[in-house]
């Protein structure tokens, strides 16, 4: 055995190969736990079911108050949403969140920092962010593969709620782009929060605040049109926050709530947020590592 380590030099190809291997390994790792998937996916639709009944009751009250002779079901509008739109909205938000939610990412990073596992990325010539990203992409792909069938079933059963039918070509393209960006935004946002673990060893409360904000301001809980515009214009504030791209935006694009130039403007702002969190996470990583290595670990 002769030692040639010194003469080896990294190339783009070898870098790409590292990520490809990492990707494949992550997929294998994920397939170990295929049992959770089926149950987990179906559970995702449970809250939607309660939403369907809740809104049915609400629309029912509105329509009986407005028009006396309505007995065949609710047909009023709330903030521009008919009953069918409302249900379709929740179904589409489930899709958005299937892309943007990153279970365990933040706490995972914080744990790695606290337990010292993060050392691995200081010792080996490999980047932590790249590893985590590959891992997430792999996990998501496996998830979509496993969840495709239950998703298709639910959407088939709920087809009637999409009153205006499915969107056409251009809108569909914007919708898909917004989903991909939702994934990137979700990843880099949570990665950034996780890196705060370099400063505070415990980020559970921070994660909780983030989840709460995400729940209320992303459109996960209700369409953003329902947010009050006075006395404080929360609706306008939310427009300036990144959260709405995690759930509301793709759904609104799909349902035709956003039109024309606003579609591309929305995509551009979403992209801007992704870049913002990429840059922020890089800065945090370098400062965090410096602090970590200065402090001990």
């Amino acid at each position: 055995m002769s030692r040639t380590a010194a003469t080896r030099s990294p190339t783009f190809i070898s870098g790409a190969r590292t990520w490809w291997t990492f990707f494949k390994i992550s997929i294998n790792e994920r397939l170990v736990y295929r049992g959770d998937f089926i149950i987990g996916t179906l559970m995702r639709f449970l809250p939607t079911l309660t939403q369907i009944f809740l809104w049915w009751a609400i629309y029912d009250v509105i329509s009986t108050e407005g028009t006396a002779d309505s007995s065949s079901g609710p047909d009023g509008q709330i903030a521009g949403y008919r009953y069918g739109d409302m249900v379709a909205y929740y179904l589409m938000v489930t899709i958005s969140r299937a892309f943007s939610s990153m279970p365990g990412l933040t706490s995972g990073i914080a744990n790695q920092i606290r337990s010292g596992e993060v050392k691995k990325f200081l010792i080996q010539p490999v980047d932590m962010q790249g590893c985590l990203l590959m891992q997430r992409i792999a996990h998501k792909l496996v998830y979509y593969l496993m969840a495709a069938l239950p998703f298709a079933l639910v959407f088939y059963l709920c087809g009637d709620f999409f009153i205006d039918g499915w969107p056409e070509g251009e809108r569909l393209m914007v919708f898909f782009a917004s989903l991909v960006l939702a994934f990137a935004l979700g990843f880099y946002l949570e990665y950034t929060i996780g890196l705060i673990g370099f400063w505070f060893l415990e980020v559970t409360s921070l994660t909780f605040i983030y989840m709460l904000m995400n729940f209320l301001l992303s459109g996960h809980m209700f369409p953003l049109e329902l947010l009050p515009e006075g006395p404080v214009n929360i609706r306008a504030v939310v427009e300036f926050l990144p959260f709405k791209y995690l759930a509301y935006f793709p759904a609104a694009v799909f349902l035709g709530k956003i039109e024309g130039a606003a579609l591309y403007q929305g995509l551009a702002v979403e992209l801007m947020w992704v870049v913002f969190f990429i840059v922020t996470s890089r800065v945090l990583w370098f400062r965090g590592v410096k602090r970590y290595s200065g402090y001990g670990g």
Binding site: M1, R3, T4, A5, A6, R8, S9, P10, T11, S14, R17, T18, W20, T21, F22, I25, N28, E29, V32, Y33, G116, E117, K119, K120, L122, I123, Q124, P125, V126, K290, Y292, S293, G294, Y295, G296, G297
Partner: protein, 331 residues
């Protein structure tokens, strides 16, 4: 030129001091008292290529801190260090491709996957060509006798098997310098022995430089010619194992086997008797008095057999540690 050159390296940690009790915890929310702990104080050390050096010391002596400094995980407060011409804490990729750190208590392999997959990943991370990777892997797996376990998920391996896999993962890119932090911790005697054998022959074959910390004296006896004793963050002794025995133990252990005709209790009143198990008597004698004491006994008693040996290394080292601690306190 030495492959590792450490000069006046100093590192201290700031540690939050928490007092006992709820009151103190509440107080800690507002005002925290910190204490500086000097983990490594002004250490200088040179290691030549191909050396196998053991770091010995009580818990918290600064052994692991030194290894962390050398592998670039942490930055020092002051001092310099060069490993193969690199400053470790600059964390250059060229440097990171040329060493490995194995920690006995930390897992680097993918828990749910066969070790082979983790090996493949390392192959690409370190950019090892396929042919070279296969050859090295075969050789290492043969040496450690784990080829049949390559396709089993790591979580199903025993601790000893996992440690062997960890070692292979760390050696696939043929690092020039290897840092081992307690590689045999928690292993049974057979597995320990196996890993010692492996490290020994691997190091002889590759002639790479290995720094090892361990609590098991057997590891050190088996592997290292040079021993560095660290206590309280300072190098207390740097030399061969024999020198340490000479320096820290003035005694020899003598075991006599008495002849049947002799009264078996005759020698039980000797000073410093360790144990009497007729017909054997074991006792401790100062090194320079061994001759005199023995000839005295031989003149008056019939003795079948005599064994004179050094005290167990554990005891010697523990003497050395206490001496180091005492010196640290008196300063």
């Amino acid at each position: 030129m030495p492959i590792i050159e450490i000069k006046n390296l100093t590192k201290s940690y700031r540690v939050y001091q928490k007092k006992e009790g709820l009151g103190a915890s509440v107080k800690g929310l507002f005002k925290r008292e910190h204490k500086n702990v000097h983990a490594v104080k002004d250490i200088s050390l040179e290691v030549e290529e191909g050396e196998f050096v053991a770091f010995l010391g009580p818990n918290g002596a600064g052994k692991t801190t030194t290894l962390k400094l050398l592998s670039g995980v942490i930055n020092p407060d002051s001092g310099t260090c060069q490993v193969m011409g690199y400053t470790p804490w600059e964390r250059k990729n060229e440097y990171r491709r040329r060493f490995s750190l194995v920690m006995g208590q930390k897992n680097q392999l993918w828990w749910d996957l066969p070790a082979l997959e983790s090996f493949r990943l390392n192959q690409h991370i370190y950019g090892v060509p396929k042919a070279e990777f296969d050859a090295t892997r075969h050789e290492l797996c043969d040496m450690l006798d784990v080829t049949r376990l390559l396709n089993q998920p790591v979580r199903e391996l025993s601790l000893g098997e996992r440690m062997k896999m960890e070692l292979i993962a760390a050696l696939l890119h043929k690092p020039d310098v290897l840092f081992l932090d307690e590689p045999t911790i928690g292993l049974d005697v057979i597995a320990q022995h196996k890993i010692q054998e492996f490290l020994k022959s691997y190091q002889q074959e590759q002639n790479n430089t290995i720094l090892l910390t361990s609590h098991y004296m057997k590891d050190i006896e088996a592997l290292c010619k040079r021993v560095v004793i660290i206590a309280n963050g300072e190098i207390y002794h740097d030399g061969s194992l024999e020198q340490i025995v000479d320096k820290f133990s003035g005694d020899k252990i003598v075991t006599l086997q008495l002849h049947e005709s002799v009264d078996q209790d005759a020698l039980k009143d000797l000073p410093n008797v360790i144990e009497v198990t007729p017909p054997k008597v074991k006792f401790r004698v100062q090194r320079e008095k061994v001759g005199a004491v023995l000839s005295g006994i031989l003149n008056s008693h019939a003795v079948d057999d005599i064994v004179v040996e050094d005290p167990p290394l554990e005891e010697v080292i523990s003497n050395a540690f206490s001496a180091a601690e005492a010196e640290g306190k008196s300063q």
